[in-house]
Amino acid sequence: MTDAAATDTTLATHVDPVATTGGVDLAALYRQSGVGEVMRQLDDELVGLAPVKSRIRDIAALLLVDKARHAHGLGGGAPSLHMSFTGNPGTGKTTVALRMADILHRLGYTRRNHVVAVTRDDLVGQYIGHTAPKTKEALKKAMGGVLFIDEAYYLYRPENERDYGQEAIEILLQVMENQRDDLVVILAGYRDRMETFYRSNPGMASRIAHHVDFPDYTPDELLRIAELLAARMDYRFDEAGLAAMREYIALRVTQPHFANARSVRNALDRARLRQASRLFSAAGEGETTPDRERLMTLSSEDLRASRVFQGGRESAITTTHH
């Protein structure tokens, strides 16, 4: 074993195979780190997303090999780990960020397994002197783990040259550069807007080591998501119900404000509401108490009542609740 490994206790505790044999048993390293478990969890949690999962796997492999290299005294200081997750809403960025934090922690790149998620409002103040304390507060809370900044481009408002967002960006940059051992930052948002943001903030772009693009889900994937989400809540579609869901998805993706998995979840919530109301009025008309089977089943009519089928947009879930 090398001295480099001996001086890094974080590594030494995780990298026994390297320490004892002197050779690099990557498979053993992988097993011990438990990264495989995280990847499986990711597979369970998220349907599809093959390109994203493969990117995450690549990053995990890179980090693993970096560790092995480090144990042999190869390569320079700590790698930059800051990342950018781009994609439309509902494509799994937050979930993947949680799993990424898990991977970083298991591999010993972060001390704690936590993600602090913020937006512009958490970082930028409204008055002079308010921004630095707010940004620092968020950074301090995230220390040791991952800071996830959603819709990061709102930090930069070129139309207002006195916008306090710039101050937040500068503080962020400083910490991203000087405290790479203490914090990993993940910036997230729509791809096109993030690209504009990076073009205007080259300092930020240069500190991002990994870009992960999250594609929209295919209609088939969305349908599987619908089934998965329903099953998690102990519901299932009957045959007509599944067909209705498929049609619903096909119509919904063409409409504005489509938010991938999130739109599917909202549609399911409304369908559950309609199913409950359907069972309730049936009982009022003297039907027998619904059995377990009927309580679990989402049917075609629970979906087809949606305005999406009438060429209209689905109303917000909050108003549906009233």
Binding site: R112, H114, L139, K140, K141, M143, G144, L183
Partner: protein, 139 residues
């Protein structure tokens, strides 16, 4: 003279690595940690200046260490201590407090005795540094 207030004053000055471990102990207990600064270390001077508010809800000591570094940069020749607060019912007070920065020279205190009738004496403690110079220019 070395002022020995605080939990660890009889040990050699703590390194940042040692300070980090104590801070993490406090964070893991759910305590809030504040940084306080003074150039008047009289034993009964309770209220040192706060260097920002106590930090709540942190998970890692790096955030506090960052502020300790800021405080040292701003007040290199002051006394700086970190103070941990436990909000548990019927504790609700300080539970750990130790010095993380002290002036290069510590002139210490003079015991002032005032003779009273009989054999009685009245005592007060006077800081040489405080008597010599105004706040901000003492060390």
């Amino acid at each position: 003279m070395r002022i020995t207030q605080g939990t660890f004053s009889y040990l050699p000055d703590l390194s940042d690595a040692q300070i980090t471990k104590q801070l993490q102990y406090a964070i893991d207990k759910g305590w809030a940690v504040g940084i306080e600064v003074t150039d008047d270390p009289h034993p009964r001077n309770t209220y040192w200046e706060m260097f920002g508010l106590p930090m709540f809800d942190l998970r890692d000591a790096a955030g506090i260490l960052l502020e300790i570094h800021n405080a040292r940069k701003t007040f290199p020749d002051h006394y700086i201590r970190v103070t941990a607060f436990d909000s548990t019912h019927q504790v609700e007070s300080v539970v750990l407090s130790f010095i993380v920065n002290r002036p290069k020279e510590e002139p210490g205190f003079r015991l002032v005795r005032t003779e009273e009738p009989g054999r009685t004496l009245r005592y007060s403690i006077e800081s040489y540094a405080v008597v010599a110079r105004p706040e901000g220019a003492r060390y």
